[in-house]
Amino acid sequence: MQHLAKYLTSAPVIATITMFILAGALIELNRFFPGLQYGTYFHAVP
């Protein structure tokens, strides 16, 4: 168990976990607030 925890905190594993969480957060952000890239979100008519 101690060795598994050591493995799970090694830099490549932590980096992979971080990337998965970040990708998930960005995908969910685009699911619930789609269209942020159009530049018309805060002002409908520029």
Binding site: T9, S10, G39, T40, F42, H43, P46
Partner: protein, 163 residues
């Protein structure tokens, strides 16, 4: 003499590049038309693939944006739309600083510990979480470190190669 010549050439190059090569601004407000009236834009719209990821943006562009002669939407910056630029600008710099500051504070704390190399290979999770929380406050901490002189190295600590 040689230095003076180089400086002169650089000045001439700057003048030529700065004023000569750059074409006059195309996106002057007179040239921009609403996208729904721009024929070049309509052509682009009709030749684009017919799915959500193209239709939605093209609908938004034709409803709200102004297009140049190239048929592409342009965003003239006014005081009203400045907020639309400022929010992503601030967010980007905050996130970039957050990432950098978290890593910096982690490395500084690791270097102070007894086994800095090991902490770079096997991440110390409590230290990592503390660094991330510290990174959230980075604008304040950067200001504090700048005033106390921790952020920058002293001039005599910076190595200058012999010349």
């Amino acid at each position: 003499m040689r230095k003076l010549l180089i400086r002169l050439l650089v000045t001439i190059a700057v003048i030529i590049i700065g004023f000569g090569v750059v074409p006059p601004a195309q996106a002057a407000s007179g040239i921009l038309t609403p996208c729904s009236e721009s024929s070049a834009f309509q052509q682009r719209k009709s030749s684009a693939p017919d799915n959500y990821y193209f239709n939605k943006p093209y609908e938004a562009y034709s409803a709200f944006e102004v297009c140049g002669e190239d048929g592409l939407p342009h965003l003239p910056i006014t005081l009203g739309t400045a907020v639309d630029v400022a929010i992503p600008f601030v967010l980007f710099h905050y996130v970039a600083g957050f990432i950098g500051w978290s890593a910096r504070s982690y490395l500084i704390a690791a270097n102070k510990s007894s086994n800095p190399e090991e902490k770079e290979i096997f991440i110390d999770l409590p230290l990592m979480i503390a660094s991330i929380i510290q990174g959230l406050l980075w604008p304040l901490l950067a200001l504090k470190e700048l005033t106390t002189g921790e952020l920058t190295a002293k001039a005599n600590e910076v190595y200058v190669s012999p010349r």
